[in-house]
Amino acid sequence: MNAPTQTQNPDPSGSIGQDWTCPFCSLLCDGFRVESQQGGLKLVGSDCSKAVQGLASFGPVPAAPSATVDGREVSPDTALDAAAERLAASRMPLFGGLATDVGGMRQLVRLANQRGAILDHARGDTLMPVLRTLQDRGQMFSTLAEIRNRADLVVCIGTDAASNFPEFFRRCAPVDEAAFARRTVFVGASAPAGLQGEVDEVALQGDLFDAVAMLAALVDGRRLPAPDAALERLAQAMRASTYCVVVFEPGRLPAQGALITEAVLRIVMSLNRKTRAGAFMLGGADGLQTANAVTTWMSGLPLRSRVGPLGLDHDPLQYATDRLLEEEAVDLLLWVASLGPKPVPPATVLPRIVLGHPALAADCAAAGTVFIPVATPGINADGHLFRADGVVTLPLRALRDDGLPTVADIANALQARLALRRLATEGTP
């Protein structure tokens, strides 16, 4: 196993993360510092609950936690041998979780190619409605700096944004000398406390589907028999704004959420005929954007694809983790959770290989499971992640050295072992 890329052990206390990028949500804030206190890590400059909670899962530097095979502590090499053996025996593996960085994902795609694996992310269900809309109709998006500098109207659909992305409104707050006043409207959600500028809420008369459909029709200027007065006023405001941003959160969409993401696109496209507007998607948690971006550029197709010697096969419905495990359509699960103690690997009767945060050891002690603890980019390894908008990629820097390998290291080592096995059995690498 290779040594991970790491910085020196820092002083026992003091500021250690001047250039720290937070890996705990897809906004990837890079304006805060981290201090080392009593062996733990303390956020400075923000009280973001996601970051505080994330840092809390990295206590005092532990002795490198052990890998396990079927619950037994083993050496790293033994764990890798066992994992390679199980992968080699699998005829249809699923690589799930995929909470990793660019480097990890690059090597996982290569490993998947060796075994014809299906790739899906722990939050694949939240990606698919968005992807479906993109594949059927497209997308029209804005990014954080554009919102900061331009958006006089922000409309949050079915989300308060702040619960799961506590820093969102601070990150896109208007610049000091802004020539516009910001108004924020929440449709079917409560406004978070302490928001600057004018804030309104629009309560739902029916469900979210009805509301966005009606809003889309009103923005389009259609005459409706019984329009909701609040939505009618909102549509007017959207058409009168100079730059309106529609925010939604894929993780909070109900089943058949693609109908909502499509309506959001219709609203934004329609607004852009006369004024300017864009959508902003609060998604991509647990490295979802990263896993999807890397899979797409290397292979040509997004997640929920199978990659292997027979080429590519993409199936957004069939290749869903829950479904594949439930139907036992796959025969092995390789689960990756390197960005924190979540996502927890699903219980299954199938053999599991888990590359995860050390705290996952307890969930991986059962027979049939190989557990290999790995480093977390931004805490004890360097790396890169994609931000929620899918445009900006930020470097993550290690705060300390916990002696853990990266996901890329493990995937690399597994590739080498599989190649050797193949050489031994077939005479080709």
């Binding site: 990028t21 594949q135 500098n149 730059y243 899918g390 990629t393």
Partner: protein
Amino acid sequence: MSTIRLKGGRVYDPANGVDGETRDIGMRDGRIVALHPQEEVDHEYDVSGCVVMAGGIDLHTHIGGGKVNLARMMLPEDHRANRARDPLLELASNGCCTPGTLETGYRYAQMGYTAAFEPAMLAANARHAHMEMGDTPILDHGAYVMLGNEELFLEMLARGEDFERIRDYVGWSIDASKAMGVKVVNPGGISAFKFNQRKLDVDENHVHWQVTPRHVVHTLARALTELGVPHPLHIHASNLGVAGNIESTLATIDALDGLPGHLTHIQFHSYGKEGPKKFSSAARQLIEKVKAAPNVSIDVGQIIFGQTVTASGDTMRQFANADLGSPRKYVGGDIECDAGCGVVPFRYREQSYVNALQWAIGLEIFLLMDDPWRVVLTTDHPNGGPFTSYPHLIRLLMDKSFRDEQLARLHPDVAASVDLREIGRELSLYDIAIMTRAAPARLLGLADRGQLGVGAAADIAVYREDADREAMFATPEYVFKDGRLVARQGRLEAVPVGGTHFLETEFDPGIEKTIEQYAQRHLSVSYRNAKIGKDELCSCANGGALLACKVHGGRGGK
């Protein structure tokens, strides 16, 4: 590394004035060497009956970055077919107009290309672009950073900032994004669209910043000249695709005021508004202008009939064309006070008057221009058509009867009237070697690429002579990358990681204060993270060679 001799090929090496002479080529340690005819070598390839050229260089091809990846995601239909592949060397990757990066590298190499340059890298998306290029195997690569639409640049122009400060900013931007050059896209227009301006002519003011595209183009061209950047300002001019846009194209050339400029996918900018449909070829006007302006080079952006997708930073024009999409879908984005992106799938049809004329205009430009050193062969992949259609395009240029056959299939009004009918010129192998190797290398300042002289990098393509030039250029007999055999008769032999070409510029680091303050006030990323260091570039680019090119400034450039 071993010594290799290519024996008895006909060599086309325009950079060294070699026009089809039969001679041997030697390689050792990745470089071209002079070998005594009796000298023993590790491998000798009999290439009699073959044409030997330097590896192809594509100086304008959208191979990596955010908009390319969005195009892949939005077009799963482009990825249904899986071609047969070598299971030992090739990983699963497919697509025709939006290929995965792996497929891009495989297919370019199989066609005899050894370098490709991404022309539209957003500074905000630079890491991502370098990552995708790093996962594009075999090919060396580099990118031009898009400038001229960032709010900071426009603000500096608007407040009349000293030119030297702007030059430092340009130098810093190249260094921070690890770029090989600078591209300007619809100068000022991407930003203007964010302020809801729908059209911007060369001498029209940006509605907010009150600066003109002319000012933007001239300032950037001057900055690059003074920084000593080898590649001229790469210009995607105003009014792309608009009937009558030849006016703005000619005005853009005037805006250069004699400074070096490279007008890209010029076909999309060479339209008149004559004739029954108010849409006509302005190829002759363009060529007359370019012939008289030795500071100007062009690439064509030839269209190829069939399905493709257009991916561009030009949100103003892409949004205007969104309704023409086929299949009808659209991706657009305003990005980080930096630039934007717009993606429109497109199907070019022979029976469409406009598409047929676009096709003819591209070919007219190739054939009317008398100096091949200033015309580079491109389809603006994938915007005019996928790069895999280059062999077809080469045949169109080299074979008048083949061209006439294609012409006969076009919309009848076009087939009956275009200038192209009258143009008898057939390009030679020497011309093709210039347009696909020697000229792009020279325009990029790659002294040791695109040529076969002693000491040059041993990037070599060997094609078996065939009267059917399409077949000949589609499947080279051998392709060598840095002296290593990477493809043989269309099959891959090795898949090395390519290197990254980038510039090291000189600038007054005092400019960083301005940039830092601006980032704090307006942007969403810390100024420190706006810079890509060399180690980081290496990790983004997958550990490939870092091919740095130091450039030295000074008034008047180098």
